[in-house]
């Protein structure tokens, strides 16, 4: 059911006014910027990059998934498309990072629009499987694209130092922080606007919504396009972060599952839910990777998924409400 009525009371203190949101957002970016000057440990930036990337992915996923009710299995395709468009342009023209991000976003926005059009005739699980099929098709295309290395992947040469932030990696973290803020702002806008209410109506009963005159197809395509654009934007810096990209790491199932699990763990009803889920699950994965490690990595993800799904049906937000 629609939680619009419950929201102000449920997460009180965070909800009123755009000004409060933007102050908080500015604080996040400022904190990221400041940390590049004061934190000596380079590893912290590697881990933070990954977690921020998941914040963007989870938030983007939730726009189509949580708000609109269409489960997207194809996060990997959107992310990878953004990454590969960025790599191709970087190889051809050596453009600044911002340009690569916009290019990646644009490419995945197009893919998102296409996926949105699919929803015209496909409901529920048919849609989800269709997004899975699209991932395979896009991955196969990339495997056959020799310019970016195909299956071998491609090494990306980029500077190590950065004039403003110290190292290039730190600059990427600040970029990701800004992207996370943008994604969350978009999600917040979607939630509060008539657009968002239309999406919620679709989620709660598409036929009824149509009968009431809601332009369902237009809304779905818009949601999918926005979702895709954000995922593509999140993918664009990935090859620069890794100095390398290959289809195996870009199209990995890990992204598809995480983008789905994080909003579910955090809560799908409010924009803060995917953020909480991303920080929690992403943080846990990073922590386990460099401590207990080995097969326990996968076990921890599995246990978190099962645990939350059983114990916290509405995610952490649901637990907090009680």
């Amino acid at each position: 059911m629609s939680d619009l009525a419950l929201r102000p009371a449920a997460v009180g203190g965070l909800s009123s006014g755009w000004s409060r949101f933007w102050i908080g957002a500015a604080a996040v970016v400022a904190l990221a910027w400041a940390s590049t000057a004061f934190v000596a440990n380079e590893y912290a930036f590697f881990a933070t990059f990954v977690i921020l990337q998941f914040v963007v992915l989870a938030t983007a996923w939730n726009i189509l998934g949580g708000h609109c009710g269409y489960v997207n299995f194809g996060t990997g395709a959107f992310l990878a498309l953004g990454a590969y468009v960025a790599v191709a342009l970087h190889k051809a023209f050596d453009l600044p990072v911002i340009a690569l991000v916009f290019a990646g976003a644009a490419a995945s926005a197009l893919l998102g629009a296409f996926v949105g059009l699919l929803t015209l005739r496909l409901r529920g699980i048919y849609f989800a499987i269709a997004t899975l099929a699209i991932t395979v098709v896009v991955e196969t295309a990339v495997l056959n694209w020799d310019y970016v290395g195909g299956a071998r992947g491609i090494t990306v040469i980029r500077p190590h130092e950065d004039a403003v932030f110290g190292t290039y990696n730190r600059m990427l973290v600040v970029l990701m922080a800004a992207m996370a803020v943008a994604a969350v702002a978009a999600a917040r806008w979607v939630e509060r606007s008539a657009f968002g209410r239309g999406l919620a109506a679709i989620r709660d009963g598409e036929d009824a919504a149509e009968a009431c005159g809601v332009p369902t197809l237009r809304l779905k395509v818009a949601a999918a396009t926005l979702s895709g654009a954000l995922m593509g934007a999140a993918g664009a810096p990935l090859p620069l972060y890794m100095n390398f990209i290959d289809p195996h790491s870009a199209f990995g199932m890990n992204y598809a599952v995480s983008a789905l699990a994080m909003p579910m763990i955090g809560g799908t009803s409010h924009w803060i839910g995917p953020v909480i889920g991303a920080v929690l699950l992403g943080g846990a994965q990073q922590a386990v990777t460099v401590t207990i490690s080995s097969e326990i990595n996968v076990l921890v993800t599995g246990l978190l998924l099962v645990g939350f799904v059983v114990a916290a049906p509405k995610g952490i937000l649901g637990l907090l409400k009680r």
């Binding site: 048919y126 098709v137 599952v257 789905l260 599995g302 246990l303 059983v310 049906p313």
Partner: protein, 290 residues
């Protein structure tokens, strides 16, 4: 591509399709009929495969026989799984689909780690007199292990179809997929019916697993590569149709084999899944769906 190669590829594809059908049949019931987003289906099959390996190790059993023996405990596993799934998700409301999906992903991961811890990460397989042999049909040679897999698949499909059409629980399972309330009004308990159906589906997965390890050696992270294929087959078929699932599996197998024997073999997955997208574009409910 000359005609002979095309014919060979088609026959090879039918055999491969038989193998795919063997893996997908249980899902046609579990997911197709009962709407359970059973992402852990290939993982269950992999557990069945390791079960067959273990039984062969301990008693020297033929893998197919081992699979059939495992069907009984797998039936109980299926009943238990469905009971848990229903209590935790279905009865709790609208978000069930997404949460059920995440749940089964979690289960699949946990099973994978369990297999690594017990069996290690190396490949393991089974032995059988028919593995490595081929049947001669004119000029063509048909690998026996695929014939066995396909044959068992067809047999399982036939038995399932019989069960669905002739038995009370089978017909009730089909009914519950169409209209749960009506079934309840007739006096049958929908939850019990779905439990039995899921149990039957899981029992077939035991045999699917045995067939999986007959076709090739297995390793714990193998389940992941089949998730996409088996769901694609069930969706292509149209939810709930067992004969449709066999047919869709054959289509997938044949299209893959033909692509593999051609000049653009590296595009095979795009064609196979592109086919799925194309079908869904014209028939959103799948080939034989309701």
């Amino acid at each position: 591509m000359d005609l002979e190669l095309l014919l060979d590829a088609t026959v090879a594809g039918l055999l491969l399709g038989g193998f795919y059908a063997a893996l997908s049949i249980g899902l046609a019931i579990a997911f197709g009929l009962l709407d359970v987003p059973h992402i852990a289906h290939p993982a269950f099959a992999l557990v069945g495969a390791y079960g067959a390996i273990t039984l062969q190790g301990m008693f020297g059993l033929d893998p197919v026989l081992a699979g059939v023996i495992l069907a009984a405990p797998f039936y109980l596993l299926g009943v238990a799984t469905y009971r848990f799934y229903h209590a935790t998700f279905e009865s709790r409301g609208s978000d069930a689909g997404l949460r059920g999906l995440a749940f089964f992903f979690g289960v699949a991961f946990i099973l994978e780690v369990g297999l690594i811890l017990v069996f290690g990460i190396d490949q393991v397989g089974v032995r059988a007199p028919y593995i490595g042999q081929a049947l001669w049909l004119g000029e063509m040679r048909l690998p026996m292990r695929l014939l066995v897999a396909g044959g068992c698949a067809l047999l399982m499909a036939a038995l399932l179809i019989l069960w669905l059409k002739r038995s009370f629980t089978g017909r009730a399972a089909q009914a519950v997929a169409q209209d749960e309330t009506a079934l309840a009004l007739v006096g049958a308990d929908p939850v019990k019916v779905k439990q039995v159906a899921f149990g039957v589906a899981t029992a077939t997965v035991a045999v699917s697993g045995a067939l999986l390890v007959i076709v090739g050696p297995v390793e714990p992270n193998m389940a992941r590569i089949y998730i996409g294929k088996v769901f694609a087959i069930v969706v292509l078929a149209g939810l709930g149709s067992v004969p449709g699932t066999v047919f869709a599996a054959m289509i997938l197998g044949v299209s893959e084999s033909i692509m593999l024997s051609g000049p653009a073999a590296s595009w095979t997955p795009a064609v196979a899944f592109g086919l799925l997208l194309a079908v869904l574009a014209f028939r959103p409910q799948g080939l034989f769906g309701r």
